[in-house]
Symmetry: C2
Subunit: 218 residues, 2 copies
């Protein structure tokens, strides 16, 4: 019974996601859905990304959080339009939440919408939002066993950001094993090694985004 | 509609949890449900805990994971009975999964059952397993904003383990603010600062468990 109920909810979500996607395509807007555990560094990666991107791409941000608007307040300081979605307890964003938040943006004047999902390595990836691209952020401090333990997000993502590499020397993480496991799950994924804190590796990741935006808007 | 469906699932779970609890009480068994994000260090904390506890307490472990049995294999090396539950995609353990796993233990000869839940800071806390005590593990590398962003687990927990304090100097974490936020959510919670990697702080945490086991078995 539980399964059929969940399938119902996911079906409803797929329909809403498909409507969102049509709207994004009509406006030539690239949409990236960023997911990862609490504390993987999604918001900090996003802050550094915005600082580099803001001169070349017209971007906007949707912040997903359960109760607070802490992350949206951090993002708005970087001078981009941002909307907060509070899920009120739910462990993921869904397509209908995104649809409502879209009403507040001028989609015609945006090339890139970045959605930061609720911090959760399991549930968000099951709910399509209508995005073009899913991106996983994993802090290396979470350990090199995480891709095989939580494979779905890594399987569905076009890019994986391995964050906090400035802490590598203080962990027992085997980076070769980590990269190998990610490629085992998803052989075509692009992997970026980044320290959002120091800014290391952000430029390569931003170049990747700009390429994807051009592919969509051309 | 979604809400009433979820309430149904939670009601079913509460009934199963209550049955589990009766069974635990009948056997004078203390049950601890350990929760936290992927990579918070739950398994490593548990390994260090077992190594200290094993001489004084008869304990067993249930490992919750989505697909793998990596953590159970780590635990069994420490010489305690362990059972793996694979949720097959689900983001949390539920009381019926625990009930099934219990059949394989000799409950009369166990004083303490530790359940390590699926790595997820959001969903597991909504599903009672019949446990006596919920414990949150938070790696300080996740950032000091996490308790206010994900308050429910911190509210429901009798103890919070702040893990990976050996990495404190390499982060921007404000420990005073972190502790203050946890106490704001839960004024009576016991907070332990631990490095599961080095073993620092494990003794205090183990003394706390032994005290709880005695309270239950006396």
């Amino acid at each position: 019974m539980e399964i059929s109920v969940n399938e119902g909810i996911l079906d409803l979500n797929e329909r809403a996601a498909s409507e969102n996607r049509k709207l994004f395509d009509r406006h030539g807007l690239l949409v990236i859905n960023i997911m990862g555990s609490p504390g993987a560094g999604k918001t900090t990666v996003l802050e550094k990304t915005i600082d580099v991107l803001i001169d070349s791409v017209r971007l906007a941000v949707i912040e997903g959080d359960i109760y607070t608007s802490k992350d949206a307040r951090r993002i708005e300081k970087h001078g981009v339009p941002v909307r907060q979605i509070n899920t009120g307890g739910a462990c993921h964003l869904d397509a209908r939440m995104i649809r409502k938040a879209l009403d507040e943006f001028d989609l015609e004047n945006i090339d890139l919408l970045i959605i930061e999902n609720v911090g959760n390595l399991v549930c968000p990836v099951e709910f399509n939002l209508g995005e073009d691209i899913k991106v996983a952020v994993l802090s290396i401090t979470e350990g090199d066993d995480k891709p095989l333990k939580y494979p779905l997000l890594f399987k569905e993502s076009a890019a994986v950001i391995l964050n906090k590499i400035d802490l590598l020397d203080f962990t027992d993480v085997d980076m070769d094993s980590l990269r190998r496991d990610i490629r085992k799950i998803n052989p075509v994924v692009d992997i970026f090694e980044v320290s959002a804190r120091s800014g290391e590796g952000i430029d390569d990741w931003v170049r990747w985004i700009i390429k994807k935006v051009k592919e969509k808007t051309e």
